[in-house]
């Protein structure tokens, strides 16, 4: 290579490196908090993390996904101080971890807007997801085979759904498995015979959330305890939270932070 191109290359690399480093300014008295876990919680945690960082310069809050159980595993492995969990802890887990409720969320059973079915009983939902009820016409819909969409096994949303709805019955082996709520949404948007479950806060206007056992899936109904498919959203630590983690958790429980969460579709913790 001739001299000129070499020089340009070196210069370009130097500029790139310097500008990248320039974006990092080390502040005094800072640190990093790692939060790992539920992909449902992740967007909300990231939102609050950014606000926390603005108010506490020098502090970094790293939020990562991977699923609720992955979050608990990360806390056990020491990869994170806070595990984000979108379901109740099992008795075994409750013995090992300390959960703090930071918000509540409804679990919506969603179908395509073109699906004529508007409400179902829990037993019917169970039947649809287990494969016992194979066609929509058995629950008042069109004569079409049901397409079940479920989350992957590490998902807290799935665990919550299994706990609240399925009980002893298993989700059909023919269910399509998607690894994020967004993918579930896209699939249902494109398939009139599909049924799935996502966080109530993520439903938006493109999907239809079913009325379950006569109760409409609204935030008010969740708070009043009428809509039964609801779950606590937890920040989980091993034993007592470390001081930095506790500061962030306290921040999340502040009224303004709770208002931010409500604006995004969650329900306040208390």
């Amino acid at each position: 290579m001739n001299n000129l191109s070499v020089r340009i290359l070196v210069l370009g690399t130097l500029i790139a490196v310097l500008s990248a480093v320039g974006g990092c300014r080390r502040e005094e008295g800072g640190g990093t908090i790692n939060a790992v876990g539920s992909t449902s919680l992740q967007p909300f945690a990231e939102l609050l993390a950014q606000e926390y960082e603005k108010k506490n310069p020098g502090w970094k809050v790293d939020v990562q996904g991977g699923g609720s159980t992955a979050g608990l595993q990360a806390v056990t492995d020491g990869l994170a101080q806070i595990g984000m969990c979108s379901r109740e802890l099992t008795p075994d887990e409750a013995a090992k971890f300390t959960p703090i409720v930071i918000a509540r969320d409804g679990l919506a059973i969603v179908v395509n807007p073109d699906n004529p079915v508007r409400e179902l009983k829990i037993d019917q939902i169970r039947g649809l997801f287990s494969g016992r009820i194979r066609s929509w016409k058995d629950v008042g819909g069109k004569d079409e085979p049901v397409r079940i969409i479920t989350r992957e096994e590490s998902s807290g949303t799935r665990d919550c759904f299994v706990h609240l709805v399925m009980g002893k019955e298993k989700i059909s082996r023919e269910a399509l498995v998607q690894e994020s709520s967004g993918a579930v949404k896209e699939l249902i948007k494109g398939n009139p015979a599909a049924i799935g479950y996502i966080s109530l806060g993520l439903v938006g206007r493109e999907l239809k959330a079913l009325i379950v056992d006569g109760e409409a899936p609204t935030a008010a109904n969740v708070l009043a305890g009428k809509y039964k498919l609801a779950r606590p959203l937890l920040f989980v630590t091993k034993g007592e939270p470390s001081p930095p983690a506790k500061k962030f958790i306290d921040f999340v429980l502040l009224p303004e932070s709770q208002k931010t969460l409500e604006a995004e579709g969650l329900i306040r913790a208390r």
């Binding site: 991977g66 992957e152 590490s154 023919e174 398939n191």
Partner: protein
Amino acid sequence: MKQDKIIRVILMTVACTAILGLVVIAVFIFKEGMPIIVRLGGREFFLSADWDPKAGRFGIRSMILGSLMVTGGAMVIGVTFSLGLAVVLTEFSPPLLTRILKPVIELLAGIPSVVYGFVGVVTLVPLIQNHLGGPGLSVLAASIVLGIMVLPTVTSISVDALHAVPRAYREGSIALGATRWQTVHMVLFKAARSGIVAAVILGMGRAIGETMAVIMVSGNTLAAPRGLLEPVRTLTANIALEMGYASGDHRQALFATGVTLFAFIMILNTIALTVSRRQGQGVRAT
């Protein structure tokens, strides 16, 4: 000469470290995965279709079937079109077009797999769902996407292999009265066989090992697919979907899935080696 000795020692250390590092990976995967295969028994692990980690059941038969079906489909699609393109590029296309197209196709080999998967989800899956039936996420979708992904690799290696066949072969064949297509399939394919087989093996390896694109378009169901339009789960998708949270037996079972994949690749490479050795004893193409 002393300098040479020092350099030799340095190089040897580096090489041994590198090789050691790679051996560690292989050993690690086997060490983590073999115990559970041994404990469950080969029959239960490989032949049972019951994958239920919570209940402690780890049978990967559906996933093995899934990987085989999807890879097979990808190879059928990929190899046909690749060979067709390779033949056109070397035998029938004007040299200028070939000179432009070959590097362009090699450039396309670098497109990220998640991009292929995404385009597949957004364009191919609805197409299959609306015109062919089924949920769209299917063996067919995965085969097509993977087939497209291996196209650049298989094509460029096949082109190299065909180019390496001496002109004398072509000229001799034409002199005997064969048409160009007859030359291609009766003479050139045989002469370039080891290169083409190498290309196919490489493509197959890439198809079996692909994870992200397959997760996006195949549906990941636990039930084995009964047809091309049914959803499917491959071995790689199984690992990716469950690794983040698996612990204990479950984690070991996922490593054991990794061992299975490793074994597949070793078999493929052995086949490639044998074919090239046999080719070397027969017709010389170089």
